[in-house]
Symmetry: C2
Subunit: 210 residues, 2 copies
DNA sequence: TCCGGTATCACCTATTTAGCGGTATTTTAA
DNA sequence: TTAAAATACCGCTAAATAGGTGATACCGGA
């Protein structure tokens, strides 16, 4: 048995039953081995360097330091390790924070065992495994609102404003007069019923107009 | 055979061999039926309303109107239909534009047939099927740079600036003095080697500091 | 315990920008 | 062919920006 070529996995999960369940599942799958299991981030940080895992399965709701908060620390300690979130939580804010903090994938706990194994393999292969509803949320975060009141040009100009450019600079880059830009902005403000660029940007982003 | 309960699929793809291949594959899978196949968007728009498909498989590189550009029109015509991109292209810009325009999933053409069938089912179930490398790109688009030169406070302030808020307003909302905000901004500009907020925002976004 | 980085606040100047009120022409797409 | 969209101009005031120079308090790691 070539244990050196096995994918080594660490599990960080406070519920012992679940933790041992995953460990049993993964440890008994050919090609995978368990390098360590921990009930908390604090425990993990003390010993994980010796484990040198390829993949970490991380719960987000842990006692003490939460899983999401620990992500930067884990990534710093083990830059090459892929971290998979495995949790019951499906709140958008939590998901995007986890992905922003360096999670390589996000699975919910109703994921069938074979899918978890597949996800570990997938993440080693450069993929980004996600549960179906997580993927849906991630995709719809990109989706623009089809029924924007703004015209194409207005949208374009508001996008430019949102990058912090001045009206003069926008005018120059779009090869139109400063006065034209001002006209568009007046119309944008009127349509969105706002009176400042900050409010215009906020309204437009909230409604996915930009 | 209860054809009414089958998932009806339309394929838009200019290569006849590929198009007929997918049609054969899907048409011969129990639970799925082909409502129509088209070589171009122009052809599709004329007749697709009669097809009333549940799912459209859409190629992005089509002669005439491109697949990505046609997304808003298709969505307007068939608001309930899920559109899956099926293409060889893996350019980030194209992917994010497709997702922004309302695509419900993104598959590359090396996807095995059974995965395509699964993806159609998944999208009907509210999921967001993506090929592994697409998912990786999508996930890493959320990822922040761990080695930002900016401090926590500086990052926070630059994020606020990127929302279009004035320094005064940022100061008020963070309960600090306007002068403090100005100091932070000076430091930010120096660290990023820029001389305007537009450039600071651009540099920070390019490097995923914010 | 000391020190460097961080966060905080101050005062100065000059210039640019933002926002609001109108009006009006040309171009484009349904 | 006509309404919507994009373009442009004028005048006005208040606000915001960018740069310089300096100072004080705090806090975490060596």
């Amino acid at each position: 048995m070539k244990r050196d070529l096995d994918i080594s996995v660490v599990i960080i999960e406070d519920d012992e039953t679940i933790r041992e369940g995953y460990a049993f599942l993964i440890g008994n799958t050919s090609g995978y081995k368990i390098a360590g299991t921990y009930p908390s981030v604090e425990e993990t940080l003390k010993k994980i360097e010796g484990d040198d895992p390829d993949v970490i399965l991380l719960d987000v709701e842990l006692p003490g330091i939460s899983g999401v908060e620990s992500l930067p620390k884990l990534k710093k300690l083990l830059p090459e390790t892929h971290i998979l979130i495995l949790t019951v939580y499906e709140q958008e804010a939590l998901i995007f924070k986890a992905l922003g903090n360096g999670a390589a994938g996000y699975l919910t706990k109703n994921t069938p065992p074979e899918r978890i194994i597949a996800a570990i393999h997938e993440v080693m292969d450069g993929g980004g495994p996600m549960s179906a509803n997580i993927a849906r949320m991630v995709i719809s975060s990109f989706k623009r609102n089809e029924s924007s009141p703004l015209t194409r040009r207005e949208t374009e100009i508001l996008e430019q404003i949102a990058t912090g450019k001045s009206r003069k600079r926008i005018a120059d880059e779009l090869f139109i007069d400063l006065e034209t830009v001002k006209s568009h902005i007046k119309n944008i403000y009127h349509k969105l019923d706002v009176h400042s660029k900050a409010d215009a940007i906020k309204t437009a982003k909230d409604n996915k107009f930009i």
